[in-house]
């Protein structure tokens, strides 16, 4: 070893989108240590937004170069940029900005969505003291930055080990973030713990898959695996396709877990419900974008090396996943009574539609997926931002936690017409109604599926969309046409326990049975205790909602430029 260590030559500009964000995250930790408490929050928010904007700028600056060369990579593909990767990074950065805005909003109630000190045991005197002292957990922002850094890295590598590291870098901060809700803290901590356990389980499966692929090809570089697939004699075990099939399927499990596709979706409703709502919005939009990006990166690259049999096997697996996911997302979504769980199942259904777009391994599919992620992400962040503003209020006028039961949303149109209009717009976009971004997004993935000969999947997708329209429109009907619950039922028991109390919800059993309408009626009588108010935004969340609504409308009405960009980003292999 007398060669010593030879430092690799690294083109730092290529890594800039990730480095800016991760660097800002490190800086944010230092801010926690050295900036006085009063200025900490503002500093953190500005730093976070600046980092995300910087990352976006870096993406934009890299765009022409990567388009021209077709790729940019450093250290043997440890970090690999293709136009598709850069497109996904752009989507993640674009979505993270409104996501952070929602996280930063303290609303007119003066409290943000996060526990004053996350280390306090829920319901203890220490927690009360921390709240009264006005403490706040500003470590949220560096955690968001670390997670975003992982998301940016996730689709940007050729190396399966780096892929795994990116997965952990994005997951670990999210686990923590999920546990930090100010209200219903037990639910929040439970959600975080479930997420962590199940995430570890999926990570383990994925790692096992990586090991099997390594066993097959003797390498963790995807491009080299493709080479081995094409020339089996290059590797000692290269003639064992069962090895690589099992390995790839297991890697898919890890990625599909993050995407939230069935049957690896089980964590989604519980975690989405338990996590602080701004984090849910951020997680639902950005994590899905990054994970789908990584999925395309891995799957589409390997597809180049598959022979017909192997390809057929993977396609069958994707078909099963897509069908199951659409089925679970829409059918279970149709019977939800909690708006956050409803959006969670909606997110599962969208994962199904995204997988439909993947079955052709084509550039058409890659383009559709990038467009879809943007359209879905905008509507999702906006919708969760609206949820943060609809609150319960006890008899003495104190604003409590979010009023997430659907029945409480009845008559919201009268209390907050603009907010209702925005929420309706997001729901319509998710439902894929024409003139919104969601329509073209759905059209794109189904078109890709039909183009790949998977027309039954597209038909199933359209049918699933039809079922999904039911539960989206049901919410709109509830908000606009149904009179508010507090108008119909006089406050029956003023002294009843506040429904926001966390203890009751340790195990989120989904209550009741019967048809959707029955559930709504039953829930209506149950929630007559606390009134529902819409708190004002202090600015950031309102800005985020406005940006998302504008985005959904603009992308829906004038999609040409976004479609062109998505088309440029469709090239997924060097």
């Amino acid at each position: 070893m007398n060669d010593g260590f030879i430092a690799p030559e690294i083109d730092w500009a290529v890594v800039a989108p990730v480095l800016v964000v991760l660097g800002a995250g490190v800086l944010g930790v230092l801010v926690e240590a050295f900036v006085p408490a009063r200025a900490r929050r503002v500093t953190q928010i500005l730093l976070t937004l600046a980092a995300l904007a910087g990352s976006l700028v870096a993406v934009v600056l890299l765009w022409p170069r990567v388009l021209r060369d077709g790729f940019a990579f450093i250290v043997d593909g440890t970090y690999l940029l293709t136009p598709f990767t850069l497109g996904v990074q752009a989507v993640v950065a674009v979505l993270a900005i409104p996501g952070v805005l929602v996280i930063a909003d303290r609303t007119s109630s003066g409290e943000d969505a996060f526990a004053p000190t996350a280390a306090a045991v829920p319901g203890t005197a220490y927690e009360d003291a921390a709240r009264q002292a006005g403490l706040q957990q500003t470590e949220i922002y560096p955690l968001v930055l670390f997670a975003t850094g992982g998301m940016l890295l996730f689709p940007a590598t050729d190396n399966l080990i780096v892929l795994f590291i990116a997965l952990e870098v994005l997951s670990l901060p999210l686990y923590v973030l999920c546990a930090t809700a100010r209200r219903r803290r037990l639910l929040s901590q439970e959600a975080a713990f479930k997420y962590f356990l199940l995430g570890s389980f999926a990570s383990a499966l994925m790692l096992f898959g990586i090991a099997l692929v390594y066993g097959f090809a003797g390498t963790v570089s995807l491009e080299t695996v493709v080479l081995v697939l094409q020339h089996p004699e290059l590797s000692p075990l290269g003639t064992m396709p069962g090895l690589v099939l099992t390995g790839v399927l297991l890697v898919l499990v890890g990625l599909l877990f993050k995407v939230g596709a069935a049957p690896f979706h089980t964590w989604t409703p519980d975690v989405y419900q338990g996590a602080p709502t701004p984090v849910t919005g951020f997680m639902a939009a950005c994590t899905k974008a990054a994970a789908v990006g990584a999925l395309v990166r891995v799957l589409f690259t390997l597809a180049a090396g598959f022979d017909d049999a192997l390809r057929g096997d993977i396609v069958v697996a994707l078909w099963v996943v897509a069908i199951l996911t659409m089925l679970v997302g829409t059918v279970a979504g149709a019977v939800q009574t909690d708006v956050k769980r409803l959006l969670a199942y909606s997110s599962i259904a969208h994962a199904g539609f995204l997988v439909v777009g993947l079955v052709g391994f084509s550039e058409l599919g890659a383009r559709a997926v990038v467009f879809y992620l943007l359209a879905y992400g905008l509507a999702t962040i906006g919708a969760f931002a609206v949820v943060t503003l609809v609150r319960e209020q006890d008899a003495s006028g104190v604003v409590l936690g979010e009023a997430t039961r659907l029945a409480q949303w009845a008559g919201l149109g009268r209390k907050a017409p603009w907010l209702t209009a925005a929420f309706a717009l997001f729901l319509l976009s998710m439902a894929g109604i024409p003139l919104t971004a969601g329509f073209l997004a759905k059209f794109g993935v189904f078109q890709a599926a039909v183009d790949a000969g998977a027309w039954p999947l597209a038909v199933l997708g359209v049918l699933a969309s039809a079922v999904a329209v039911f539960f989206y429109v049901r919410v709109i009907v509830l908000m606009v046409l149904t009179p508010p619950a507090d108008e119909r039922a006089a406050p029956e028991a003023a002294g009843a326990a506040a429904p926001g109390a966390a203890g009751a919800a340790v195990r989120p059993v989904e209550g009741g049975g019967g048809t959707a309408a029955g559930v709504v009626t039953a829930a209506r009588t149950a929630v007559a205790r606390a009134t529902v108010v819409v708190v004002g935004s202090r600015g950031p969340a309102a800005l985020a909602i406005a940006l998302c609504a504008l985005g959904v409308l603009l992308v829906g009405l004038l999609p040409a430029s976004v479609l062109d960009l998505a088309g440029e980003a469709a090239k997924f292999r060097p």
Partner: protein
């Protein structure tokens, strides 16, 4: 043409007027009606400038197109937003804007006590804009926009006083029956698109003029009949005539402008414009003539029995448009005369309606002619202006109607076989009946003894209308008297239209022309004399006397509503009831069952979501196993 680029302004000016009045709302209440008048007058001026420009050109250069831009560009279908400027469209522009402006002026006074006068003028302007778009369009699709626009304006104006249910119902009836016709135009356009691949006049009419190569006779007949259906709806021709009488529920200026002078003649315009299409389908053309002949007798018979002055005039309108329709169905020999009669009719019928409005104004909005009588001395100007209109519609020389109607009767007697005899005598008979019922109207209103209560709190005090109402009547009366002669000098109007409708060789009627004129005049004099004897010489009962079956039938419009209700409305209601029933029991039940199934399935799935991590992990692993099994089972079969 240098002034061609002005064409869009003909439509834009009144649209702008309507937009101002509708959008600015109550703020313009005090002066809004003058905006309406100004918009209409300005449109007339623009039209006049274009007309004078056209006069300065050689006849063959007078047909021009002005394209504003592409409207529809969808695959094989390409439609421009274009205007057709030729003698035919300019004739209509002049009629619509000139008569329209007069009626705008008249309405300023007539509607002065109405709180919604501004809205009224907005609708009038909207109508003018739509009507001009209709006649200026250079494709059936653009024409259709105007066609629907006038239908909308008509609906809004018939039901203008919609606080009375009967007016609202009348508006709805007109709208629904017009929709039946509109479907005809839509189907015609679809057929044109399928046959010629285009809906612009140039392609469709050009191809038809060459015998429509590539189109079967059946298709051409279908197109012709569908165009006729459209024309029947808009022009209140048999069998879609029933709405026009009820449309008199609208304010009288509306009846004058829309339901006498202009909109109801749109059907005639459509058929004359589409002349070559009908010529390529002679059977359809024959149906046009038959419809015209039937309607002209139908309207005339109904007119004889009506006691409502406006409904009598409405029946007369129907009958006169029947003449035009008959002329349009006679082929090229009749086109020019159809338009000629349309113009003169536009003047004298508008004048008659304005006169009726003046009488109603004087008599406290009474319309029952049995309660009029002896008004000649009290309303001298109205009597003279209506008198001129009356002489014009009778066809007494040298008034307008003589020149135009006589030409149609003459043309109806041309041809071979049974047709000249049937159509000719129908037209001749119609002229006699027209003389009878119009004289009846005139004498019942102005001659004889007064039959209204002259004392009591509600007694009318007949007085002449204000100047703003009188002057438009005088101008129209002058037109009724002299326009026919002026246009007929040296066959001027016929030659003017030749660039559009083509030149036709003169044919001889089956009877000598002098005999026809003499026969017509004899019948007219007989009809008028009979009316004079019945309604001027003898007392008129104030309640309708018992009469024989034909009169009773004519009083209820020859049972047109009963027939419609029995043939269309009730079967339609039964059909919709049956559909609603089957929708509830079969379709809804099916969907609800499906929805319930999804709900139950969802509840099952929800039970899987137990909240226990161990179960979630098991589901993950189990799901993976299922996928693995499926992949293993299907391995090698999919590729």
């Amino acid at each position: 043409m240098q002034t061609l680029a002005l064409a869009p302004w003909l439509v834009a000016t009144p649209s702008l007027g309507a937009a101002i009045l509708l959008l600015a709302g109550r703020r313009t209440d005090r002066w809004g009606h003058w905006v309406g008048v100004l918009a209409s007058a300005a449109t007339f001026v623009v039209g006049l400038v274009m007309l004078l420009d056209m006069f300065g050109m050689a006849p063959e250069e007078r047909v021009a197109h002005h394209t504003v831009g592409t409207w529809v560009d969808a695959g094989a279908l390409h439609v421009d937003l274009g205007f057709q400027i030729d003698p035919l469209s300019m004739t209509f522009v002049m009629l619509v804007t000139f008569v329209g402006t007069l009626i705008h002026v008249y309405s300023v006074a007539y509607m002065s006590h109405d709180l919604d006068r501004r809205r009224f003028f907005a609708y009038l302007n909207l109508f003018v804009a739509a009507m001009l778009l209709l006649v200026l369009a250079d494709s059936y699709l653009v024409l259709f926009v105007g066609w629907e626009g006038v239908g909308l304006a008509s609906f809004l104006l018939i039901g203008f006083w919609d606080h009375e249910r009967v007016n609202a119902v009348a508006g709805k009836k007109a709208f629904v029956m017009n929709r039946v016709g509109d479907m005809g135009l839509l189907v015609a356009m679809m057929l044109m698109l399928a046959t010629f691949g285009a809906v612009d006049f140039e392609t469709v009419i050009g191809a038809s003029a060459q015998g429509a190569p590539g189109a079967s006779q059946a298709v051409m007949i279908a197109i012709g009949l569908m165009l006729l259906l459209a024309a029947c709806g808009k022009s209140a021709q048999f069998p879609l005539q029933a709405w026009l009488g009820d449309a008199m529920a609208g304010p009288t200026p509306v009846s004058a402008l829309i339901h006498a002078a202009t909109m109801v003649t749109a059907g005639v315009y459509l058929l004359v414009r589409s002349g070559p299409v009908l010529e390529a389908a002679p059977d359809a053309q024959l149906v046009v003539a038959i419809v015209g002949a039937v309607t002209l007798l139908f309207g005339a018979i109904v007119g004889c029995a009506k006691d409502d002055i406006k409904k009598t005039l409405a029946a007369s309108t129907m009958s006169q448009i029947g003449y035009m329709m008959l002329a349009a169905g006679l082929g090229p020999v009749g086109y020019a005369f159809a338009i000629f009669h349309l113009i003169t009719h536009g003047f004298f019928k508008a004048g008659l309606f304005l006169g009726a409005g003046s009488v109603m104004h004087a008599m406290g909005d009474t319309v029952d002619m049995r309660r009029f009588g002896g008004l000649a001395r009290l309303l001298p100007v109205t009597t003279i202006t209506m008198g001129l209109g009356w002489l014009a519609i009778l066809g007494v020389p040298p008034f307008s109607g003589f020149y135009s109607k006589d030409k149609i009767i003459e043309a109806a007697f041309m041809g071979e076989g049974w047709r000249p005899w049937v159509f000719g005598f129908a037209a001749l008979l119609g002229a006699g009946i027209t003389a009878y019922y119009m004289s009846r109207l005139f004498f019942m209103t102005f001659a004889g003894r007064r039959r209204w209560a002259s004392d009591g709190p509600d007694a009318p005090h007949p007085h002449e209308a204000p100047a703003l109402m009188v002057w438009p009547m005088i101008v129209l009366a002058v037109g009724s008297a002299g326009l026919g002669f002026a246009l007929n000098v040296g066959d001027g109007f016929v030659h003017w239209l030749e660039p559009v409708v083509g030149h036709t060789e003169h044919h001889e009627p089956v009877l000598p022309v002098w005999l026809l004129i003499a026969l017509t005049l004899v019948l007219v004099v007989l009809g008028a004399a009979l009316a004079f004897r019945q309604y001027a010489m003898s007392a008129v009962p104030t309640t309708p006397p018992h009469a024989h079956a034909l009169v009773r039938a004519a009083r209820v419009d020859l049972h047109q509503d009963d027939v419609n209700e029995a043939l269309v409305m009730r079967p339609g209601q039964y059909l919709t009831r049956a559909l609603v029933y089957s929708d509830r029991t079969a379709v809804d039940a099916g969907w609800l069952g499906l929805a319930g199934g999804i709900g139950r399935f969802g509840d099952r799935l929800r039970r899987l979501q137990s909240g226990y991590v161990r179960q979630y992990a098991a589901q993950t692993l189990g799901g993976l196993a299922v996928i693995a099994v499926v992949v293993w089972l299907l391995s090698g079969q999919v590729g």
